[in-house]
């Protein structure tokens, strides 16, 4: 029993090391490529370690190509989306969890939210493009904000519901006993308790929003409204040899949601599994 246990341990650790490499190497490769100079890219074979690492690709991407503007657009669009999503999300979740709403309605809304997970965005892009075109919001960041809010609402509802149901109603009821109105109880009791939940949701929605690509690609045409992922994809062209810039843009695109999600990592899993896996 002991020997097979030890064999299992050795094999197990070996497997873990292999997996660690499989996950770390591509990330390393991305970073490595992003600091290579142009001359090095012309070589016959790629190099495992950049010979003369330089930050020039980053500078070129951000400033020469003007991608700073795209970063700004992403920031603005994502912030507004978070705001809108949370406000509407709360407006839906509060009655659903704190007020006597018919069970059918509650289940119905939650079901609808869950079902949107099965919706391929491309199927919505086609009509959405027609709508945006008609109302003149083409190449306008607002169009993105509205779409992103729509797609993040289900997630927001589930996250907020999860947090709200964890806060016992007794806390608010205590405030009622003290004579507070529902509005005051909401503002002074519930909201502060929801703050960590709201923050976690905000962070995750921001990260999702940041990563969105398809709608931004189709609904915008100039850097006035384009978001960063569109810029990243624009560099992935085989016509030019700019893989270092492509990698640099990739690094920037990854860094933002990565930092955010790592900060909120305790809630990420709950969010992704509709509350089934809750943090302990």
């Amino acid at each position: 029993m002991g020997r097979s246990h030890r064999v299992l341990k050795v094999v197990g650790w070996l497997a873990l090391v292999v997996f660690a490499l499989i996950y770390l190497f591509p990330l390393y490769w991305l970073l490595n490529t992003s600091v290579k100079g142009r001359a090095e890219l012309f070589a016959s074979t790629p190099t495992l370690v950049a010979k003369h690492p330089t930050l020039e690709p980053y500078v070129t991407v951000l400033f020469d190509r003007g991608y700073v503007r795209l970063l700004r657009n992403s920031l603005v669009v994502c912030s507004l989306t978070v705001l809108l999503t949370l406000v509407i999300g709360m407006a839906i979740t509060y009655p659903l969890t704190r007020l006597p709403v018919s069970r059918r309605l509650r289940v119905g809304v939650l079901n609808w939210a869950l079902s949107l997970r099965f919706l391929p965005p491309i199927a919505v892009v086609v009509p959405y493009f027609l709508i945006v075109r008609t109302i003149g919001l083409y190449n306008n960041p607002l169009a993105l904000v509205f779409v992103y809010t729509l797609f993040n609402l289900p997630f927001g509802i589930w996250m907020l519901k999860g947090f709200m149901t964890e806060i016992p109603q007794e806390v608010e009821e205590a405030a009622y006993v003290d004579g507070a109105t529902r509005a005051a109880a909401f503002r002074r009791v519930l909201l502060p308790l929801m703050a960590p939940g709201l923050l976690a949701s905000a962070v995750i929605i921001f990260a999702f929003c940041w990563s969105e690509f398809l709608f931004a690609l189709i609904l915008t045409s100039t850097r006035d409204a384009q978001t960063f992922p569109v810029g990243v994809q624009g560099l992935v062209t085989q016509f030019e040899i700019i893989w270092n810039e492509m990698a640099a843009a990739g690094v920037i695109a990854i860094a933002v949601p990565l930092v955010l999600m790592l900060a909120a990592r305790r809630h990420v899993l709950a969010g992704l599994t509709f509350g089934v896996i809750r943090e302990k």
């Binding site: 016959s44 306008n140 503002r187 016509f239 030019e240």
Partner: protein
Amino acid sequence: MRHATKLMAMSAVLMVVMAGCGGGGGGDTDRLVIAAVQGNESEGIKALADDYEQETGVSLQIEELPYPQLYEKLVTTFQANDASYDLVMLDDPWMPKFGTEGWLQPLDSTYGFERDPDIAGVIYDVGTWPPPRGAVPPSEQGKEAHLLGITVVGNVEMFMYRTDLMDRPATWDDVLAAAKANDKGDVSGYAIRGLATNPVVADFLPILWSFGGDVFDENWDVVFDSKESLAAVEFLVNDLKAVAEASPETVDAADRSRLMAIGETAQSTVWPGEINSIVLGEGTTVDGKVSFIPMPAGPSGQGFGMMGNWLLAIPTAAENGEAAADFIRWMTEEDTQRLYAENGGIPSRTSVLNDAGLNEANPYFSALAESLAATPNWRPRTDQWNAVETVLGTNLNAALAGQMTAQEAVTAASSEIHDIMEQAGYYA
């Protein structure tokens, strides 16, 4: 409730501000938004942006997009009747679609452009819709011809070869012979640009024509499955492939030019834009060892250069028409063309191309002038070209990858193209 209302008021204000920020280019006369293709073709314009701003006070916002996306984005934007772009760069094969749909403003009638004798006639021809010669789509016949675009990158596809490895090839048979002789070690005899759709089609059409084949005839009937066309395809996927680099079906223009630059191939076709930026650019090992000539001849007896001009045009929906027209005029002035050439641009003025001084830095200029004067071929002038090119390109690419034989590729492509043209009403 006050918090909520404050929040909502803030977002409302933000949204109004954002609505104002969206969609640039409209009615803004000190800024011109240009939709350009990402790559060496835009280098020239980018280099001149500062000069233009100093001269006129108008700044240029150049939006670069990769080739396939530029087309998709332009069509999407035009369909949305959006004023985001004041000027657009278009590849000449896109002119039929844009011209047929009426998406571009006429430069001659609205802005008074006239033909300049110092610029080759074919340059004006390629920017005119309906085209002054060759097959005209049935729906466009009888329409009044207008100049819709002016060439800003005078591209004509040429041929390049290593002077230290071989003699100047006069025919494609010479090319094949020299390729076989040089195909050893790291060096491939010929570099095929075989990536799917536009790249492989652009590379292959001159070969197709020099063998006497074509995609359409004068009445838009598909002749891609003719004897001559098949011979050309077989030449590409059997003969040339045998002496080409590995996996030609993944190779695009920059890749094959890079191969030439590091000395790993003996011959290839080439677009002028790649010459100074890649073939003779930073990191090259073949400086002084490469020569650029017009296309070799084929069994038909003729060699056919192919145009790939990039044109500047003004979208119908654009609001800064006058400012945009001024910019186009400025681009074609002789001084600008000189400055443009010095900064890596490809001029279209014959006098500038034949200038001795510029030919020292750009040895291919006179060959280019020669090609332009010989009236090169252009791609079929149909508004369905994007779909046709995709079909041609996908099948040629599959044949190059060894997934189908030349005959299968030719048959499949021909029938699919026939369907496309039929559905588009060409055979009424």
